[in-house]
Symmetry: C2
Subunit: 198 residues, 2 copies
Amino acid sequence: MATARTSTTDAEQGSAAQRDRRRRILEATLALASKGGYDAVQMRTVAERAEVALGTLYRYFPSKIHLLVSALALELEAIQDKLSRKPIPGDTAYDRTLYVLNRVTGALQRDPMLAEAMTRAFMFADPSASAEVNAVARLMEEMFTRAMHDGEPTADDRAKARVIGDVWLSNLVAWVTRRASANDVVNHLELATRLLLH
Amino acid sequence: MATARTSTTDAEQGSAAQRDRRRRILEATLALASKGGYDAVQMRTVAERAEVALGTLYRYFPSKIHLLVSALALELEAIQDKLSRKPIPGDTAYDRTLYVLNRVTGALQRDPMLAEAMTRAFMFADPSASAEVNAVARLMEEMFTRAMHDGEPTADDRAKARVIGDVWLSNLVAWVTRRASANDVVNHLELATRLLLH
DNA sequence: AGCCGGATTAGAACACGTTTCAGTTTGAAC
DNA sequence: GTTCAAACTGAAACGTGTTCTAATCCGGCT
């Protein structure tokens, strides 16, 4: 209970040097993604910037998808961490959910290229990365479930949270591909939340 | 009113030879995707099988994504066509929607590799393919909107149809990446539909 | 200190999406 | 039938994700 670590599924093992390499790699990934999106995250460039050999990068992350989805998990954890620092405002599940949705959406929209890189990776992932993808999916579901109210969620709460997560993902994709504006996204999320939570 | 053509956004132009090339290309794409999924749809292979030069393939479809999403639109149209041939059974919007969902989901699950290829392409699409992606999105929305009841849909109907489409897409992705079983998908869809349509 | 096995490195090599180019074919206008 | 632009072809070439290899490095063991 003493350590307040980022409890990524498998982050804290290996020597200090190895943990540092992993950190450098993810750092480089986020920096490149933030500047140029999915295409700018080139494996050679990541390796160079993280000061590891290309082969080493592939030892840590077996594909570009694994790499980006792991980075996404890291980001989501950071967001969730910040969220859980203050209690969620709002009296109704509707208000609280909308608050969380806006916070998360805002965080992504503040860094569109990063959002693009991570969303495309998440959506393109094949079964070999399903562990990483599942970790992210669980994080999302948990975030929206907690939003509804404090205490134990019912099965119904979970179902609603999942639907909201689905709508959120779809809209994220639409926004990233410029089929929907930031405003569209906010409106659709609000509408969907209202439909689900009265 | 005489022609009962497949009214794809832009399918019916050019000489007969051109229409035939386009048809052969899409045919080859569907065959390859059906056999081996996204990875098996290799541009050189498609070109060879359609008996056109690689450059010609790229003249018709500027990227693998455009190609696959166009093929998806074609498939969706076919499904919708078959659907509209018989009236949708069910007395309530809930029943009717579930019927349509099961029909569409079933069609995709009957050809998992094809579903994988088209879903991944749809989700990975970048803004350059947004026209094609939008065409598909519109088809989906229309299908679910029509499912609710006959006649003009209200704004509320549309919103609900969109949410259902979002849930459907998310579950399709989860199924394709083997994070969810066919059964999971059916259950989640039913649950979401119930939540939305009472 | 010397040894060992796994981790790391630099770099070549391979696969496939995409681009480019020089030459040929096609078909519409005259 | 000739002419011309656009479409098509075959083939080479490029970029980036991924794999492979031989050499070197590192940390723990005796």
